[in-house]
Symmetry: C2
């Protein structure tokens, strides 16, 4: 049906109507006192979301732009960096680091498997001369639905003592507990079209005092993505360049909603949606791409063996106007991905599961026991 | 009055209601066929606006981000570049070029005066070894209301034959005739919150085949702002990174409106508004900061001598909720600036002039002949 689109991809995620309407307001001057108040409120609430007293800076950029800023501001050409790569985004940060001529060492894991923290420990504990300047980790790997064990990897980075920990939290922030200050995360990058529940266009970077120390000597050239300029402006409730005013109106409403829900409630909702989705797929006989032990709270990747992944995905789109994500790169056609990030509730999971179930029946898949997916999800939602 | 804000600054500019409402639509997936159609339409209409067959690329970035991309993609550290600087933005491009270690030579003019094309001619014609790789020009200098003579400067760049011409058209595109192909402009940068009539958050860069040649050998490191990635994606009606979907919905409507109005009509409207504003200020005895011969079609800077610029500006804001821009940097308190860019019509000019006139009376300024400003504007609008 026309105009009946329902998004269940890992971004853009669904946007609340109150956010959309806030974005439809006339812009005001970004150098006005009234807009300074908006920036002040946003900054305070972003710190709340990041569980930090560090600076949290807003950039007109996608998540990739925010992550690039989070990498290049604290490093110089030739610096040794360790990049975790077990999916499309880990791969991307390695490309960024190479583009800026850092000395990149990659810790790899197969797509669908988590990074092994012990590989990081080995490299870090062997580095007696403290030549490792940073460890770059994708927390929730959007391409595979794997949540990497940031807490443990970060523990080894802390034991090293010198290296910065730079985290891609693009699809984990606002979905999973990331206590920035408690863990001592130096740089955390994220993007608006994910847990923030607003459309794409804004990127965020949190920066620790230790990272600001590294900033002082980092020689990688930068101007638009120079975070020092953003800090200086943010300290004055301002922005270094014209900010995306209307997206920030939307962010204002979204962060107020998140505060009313509360962090614990947001995280447990994402856990519940993740578990219900996974149990439902298992009940339908559809194998999950990532194991339960490292399940992303943002996205569940499903790797059907008997039925074609793309056939399920396109039927769900055609019949029910539900948009699921396909596989990326070599996983194209191998998996489909169900987003349950941000403005997603139990109703959305039931809807998607019911649609997938019905599509399996229509595709003549023998293995499906009609109703089994919904029964499994219902059981999770009933707390069983 | 609450919620009665009227923007007459050089950006953000007023946004049509139809654009705001388009931005309030639910986002769809940016990798969907439906969104590819949006990108294809936008790209075609952007080329129309730029009067070019060159690539026109969309970035999630402010105008500064777009201009930085337009500079760093085509140059290598040590490259000799000439930067015109007669205001805050010319100054900024020199800073960008220095940040990326280019060999920067500045052609300066006083703020409020235009760049002298002959200074460019002298440098370019003396460069027998063709060491000058690029000339960077701010077309309309937003900080002063000066329109630089891009056509003549560009003629000298063409005579040189090797150097690229890189143009900041942030407040001139969509306000003044910029025939990209006819003039052979290599790189033209712009931003959404100006002539485009949409809120900030999108930057644009047009790139000529000659600039793409330079791209191949340019070694300045880049990833998020790597325009090659944007070209590759745009050629497939896609985007390299998640684009600001809702702003692009707004852009779609705005470009359709612009096409209905037609380029000639848009340019003559801006000329009319500029002349009316200037004649009105003269009639009120308020000196203009830039001479008529180089008046920006986007903004008029007024430099009152007897009355305090900030007093006028704050009274106009307080009594009439009209936002005028102040002076930047050393011009703070010296000038105020009236924006007449984008979604601005004759009614807006009459309103602003009437408000300024009335404020002058209230401030007890003896020189004002009540009604003289409106009379002067009316005369321009009547075609006299």
């Amino acid at each position: 049906m026309e105009d009946k689109n329902m998004l269940m991809i890992p971004g853009p995620t669904p946007v609340p109507e109150s956010v959309l309407l806030a974005m439809a307001k006339h812009p005001i001057g970004h150098r006005s006192g009234d807009f300074s108040k908006v920036i002040a409120e946003l900054t305070e609430n972003l710190k709340w979301l990041h569980q930090t007293k560090n600076d949290v800076l807003m950039l007109t950029a996608s998540g990739t732009g925010a992550m690039e800023a989070g990498i290049i501001n604290f490093l110089s050409p030739g610096d040794r960096v360790i990049v975790g790569d077990n999916g499309k985004f880990g791969e991307r940060w390695a490309k960024v680091a190479k583009a800026f001529n850092f000395n990149v060492e990659i810790v790899k894991a197969e797509w669908g498997k988590p990074l092994d923290p012990e590989e990081f420990r080995a490299k870090l504990s062997a580095d007696k001369d403290k030549t490792i300047k940073a460890v770059i980790i994708t927390h929730s790997e959007t391409s595979t639905g794997v949540l990497n064990d940031l807490e443990t990897i970060n523990k080894y980075v802390k034991e090293h003592g010198e290296a910065l920990i730079i985290v891609d939290a693009v699809t984990s922030l606002g979905a999973f507990n990331i206590p920035t200050d408690e863990w001592g995360l130096d740089v955390v990058g994220s993007g608006s079209q994910k847990g923030y529940m607003i459309p794409p266009g804004l990127g965020f970077v949190s920066v620790s005092p230790k990272a600001w120390q590294a900033y002082k000597t980092a020689t990688t050239p930068r101007f638009y993505l120079d975070l020092g300029k953003y800090k200086k402006a943010t300290d004055e409730d301002s922005s270094p360049f014209t900010p995306p005013i209307n997206l920030m109106y939307g962010l204002q409403v979204a962060l107020q909603m998140m505060k009313r829900e509360g962090l614990e409630s947001i995280f447990s909702r994402h856990q519940r949606l993740t578990r219900a989705t996974r149990e439902a797929m298992k009940a339908l006989g559809l194998p999950l791409f990532a194991p339960d032990t490292c399940a992303s709270p943002a996205i569940t990747a499903v790797a059907p063996t008997v039925v074609d992944a793309e056939k399920i995905r396109s039927l769900v789109k055609k019949k029910f106007d539900i948009v699921l994500a396909g596989g990326q790169d070599h996983l194209k056609g191998q998996i489909f991905r169900i987003g349950h990030l941000g403005f997603s509730g139990e109703r959305d999971i039931l809807t998607a599961v019911a649609a997938i179930e019905t599509s399996l029946v229509e595709l003549g898949y023998d293995g499906v026991k009609s109703g089994a997916g919904i029964a499994a999800a219902a059981s999770v939602f009933a707390g069983k």
